[in-house]
Amino acid sequence: MSVYRRNAFRATAAGALALILASPWSAIAQSVLRLVPQADLKILDTVQTTNNITSNHGYMVYDTLFSLDGKLAAKPQMVESYSKSPDSLTWKFKLRPGLKFHDGQAVTAKDAVASILRFSKRIPAGVTMMQFAKEIVATGGDTFEIRLNKPFGLVLETLAGPENPLFVTREADAQLDPNTAMTTAIGSGPFMFVREEWVPGSKVVYKKNPDYKPRSEPADGFAGGKLAKVDRVEWLVIPDSNTAVQALIKGEVDIIEIPQTDLLPLVRKDPNITVKVIDRVGTQAIYRMNHLIPPFNNAKARQALLYATGDQRDYLSSMIGFAEYEKPCWAVFICGTPFETQAGVGDWAKGDKKANIEKAKALLKEAGYKGEKVVVLDPVETHLAHAQAVVTAQKLREIGMTVELAAIDWGTQSARRQIKDGPDKNPGAWNIFHTWGGGLAMNSPLSNTPTPSACDGKNWFGWPCDEELEKIRLEFPLAPPEKQKEIVERLQKRFYEVVPYIPAGQFFAPVAFRKNLSGILDTPRLVLWNIEKK
């Protein structure tokens, strides 16, 4: 063997050995929490999009001015103290000392004000608050004020809203137009985003923020001390549900945020895994009609749908398939919350199928329905919407409607539901689409997106129009807390007369995690602070 060959051989052998030794196990031990998230993180901007996964990312890297505790009460988070003037028109806030962004900059009142302003141009709760606001100004390095034109009873709830939370970003970031994507992720939250390890569609990495200053109170819901108890968090996108479950069983991942329900029996058999509902509020399945074109431009035809729907368990068992995670519920503003009411709920809810079908047919006749085709959008790759669409199609056929179940994907539904015209003008016309909304957004007339019914055609897809319903809805933010329930009752009564949408039931998605984890908080969204891994 020549010297050259010998050296080459040695170099190759040394290289191979180095490759073998350079395994993850030789790295310095650190606690790593591995989560299979509900979806892939594609967008970092928590204002530009209302997607849940982006809000979950926000909870990792940003902090909020206020947060809801376990009893859904707004508690100060970044705010140290606050006060309200006697006329309720001026709210003064002071930030906690020592708050820092991940780039080392101190969090100031200007950051908070800019973040509120950006949020309020896009997120419905903020948009509503701004209708009452005269100005929002920084009055010092760590103090700011919200000055109102007229009293608005939901200031703290708006600042603490958990579905599309108001995260505080750097002033420079918050000055971006809300429709232009913020591509940075520099917050002041308990974890820091590791951009260089982000592989969209595969992996998102966060590391503990060593400079985070948690509140002294214990963690409670979204409120209290947000202590990061692991060094690193990895979101691993596993598109195949079965593989995700096998990875959990084997311990390659620690948590599945939303395990597929038909695989739960497999997960439950494993003594090392816990399956638990942490979201006590739940999610509302809904379907929405196009109110601009026949037949559902007629309130009688929409009422017929209430009778056609009748027993919500048909929807829930199709979507979920586990009775313990299903809750038939006709309370528009969510069962189990302070605004649960049976006002306006008619005899369709009794679930007498035969009577319901007869009543639905009679209502359709009154509406003048003559067998026109009803297009039900069916995004087949999105299980929750697809399962609902199939059930709706069958129920409509049972009441004598002609149904076209249009098989599409979610992306097409998102585009197609923007079409206002009827089939004579646009072949993409639609009559019904299905979706769902988090209970904490749906449980208030302020944040329940499908309820607004102003007749300006600018409300949510389907464009219901009823001035009376809208008038009652707008009483809500002006009312003192003790009057709110009464308003909700009137609102729901009117709701079931004009039927802006059909609630198809409430469900609760469990989280599955390995038993070596402790400290998972009971929150409507899975948050990853306070979790310890043994």
């Binding site: 967008i43 137009d177 096998q246 069983i249 949510w460 897809f461």
Partner: protein, 313 residues
């Protein structure tokens, strides 16, 4: 030969241009709106319209095309509408897993399937032949995800030898890399082994019936020599063609296996981008795929001349 190479490369340019125009048109004419997906389910039409305008998606199609084509001519594939990552970076992140999977799958397939096909042809009609053909039918018939699940259950869960899912780059260690890639490669290789074994057998059967093979036997040459030097060499053209097609398919079309094993390959990137209507990403990937197809075909054509001296360009 060089003239042929240059001619083929030049001929590839209009192919790629046509593919580019076709894909752009198809994507933008198909229903779907990335702005609506970005805005989220609870956004209003007004929000969606504002985002669409910010992204320039409200511009006439021709303007959008020429903007993109202009970027392309400057070597810029653009950025993802969603993550704002450069498309070239997204593709770069996925290249290693995809190429690893392709090479390992072909390595296993060729290593096992060619000898099996040769032996089956040599022992045509015997139990070995029937066994190989039975295996080929099995390999074709059983869907990849079923094989994947079974392999996960046996080797990851029951035996605990290999991980269930994921991909570890080679730079992070040889064994972590290899352990992640074994099961998906075997899953994919089963179908390709079936294909290559059948083609090898068919090509070999035809070659083995030729007069020169009889002559080789009559000269007293050893059977392995006849099979490998005389028969396989001459039967190689269709086998190489099939392997070439396999390479092209593996680079872009193994979405199911990538999904089952959570491998972040180009196939999944493509499907994710299509579902979200992330136009720049889809266009960039298709461009890369069409380039890869052209390259693979070129290499296969070159190999023909090596394997069969009668072929000259």
């Amino acid at each position: 030969m060089y003239v042929f190479l240059i001619r083929r490369v030049l001929a590839a340019i209009p192919v790629v241009v046509v593919v580019t125009i076709f894909v752009f048109a198809l994507l933008h004419l198909a229903p779907g709106d990335p702005a609506a997906i970005i805005a989220g389910d609870l956004a209003t039409a007004e929000d969606v319209a504002k985002i669409r305008a910010k992204l320039g998606l409200d511009q006439p199609l021709m303007i959008q095309f020429f903007t993109w084509a202009g970027q392309l001519l400057r070597g810029d594939l653009g950025n993802s509408i969603f993550s704002a990552h450069p498309v070239s970076q997204l593709i770069g992140q996925r290249l290693e897993p995809t190429l690893t999977l392709t090479v390992m799958t072909l390595f296993i397939s060729i290593l096992l399937a060619v000898p099996l096909g040769v032996i089956a042809a040599w022992r045509v009609g015997s139990w070995i032949d029937r066994g190989v053909m039975g295996f080929a039918v099995f390999g074709f018939s059983v869907p990849g995800f079923v094989i994947g699940y079974v392999l996960i259950w046996v080797f990851a869960i029951e035996l605990d030898w290999l991980p269930v899912q994921g991909y570890t780059p080679l730079a992070k260690g040889f064994w972590p890399w290899l352990s992640n890639i074994i099961l998906p490669s075997v899953t994919l290789a089963l179908a390709y082994m079936a294909l290559i074994a059948r083609i090898t057998r068919a090509a070999m059967l035809e070659t083995l019936s030729q007069d020169y093979i009889r002559t080789a036997h009559a000269k007293g040459l050893a059977t392995p020599h006849v099979l490998l030097r005389h028969a396989l060499h001459n039967a190689a053209v269709p086998i190489v063609t099939v392997i070439g097609i396999g390479v092209a398919l593996l680079i872009g079309g193994v979405v199911v296996t990538e999904s089952v094993f959570a491998i972040p390959g180009l196939g999944r990137l493509t499907v994710d981008a299509i579902l979200r209507r992330d136009y720049p990403v889809i266009q960039g990937i298709i461009l890369v795929f069409s380039g890869a197809y052209v390259l693979v075909n070129l290499i296969v054509d070159m190999l023909y001349t090596v394997l069969d001296p009668r072929i000259r360009y």
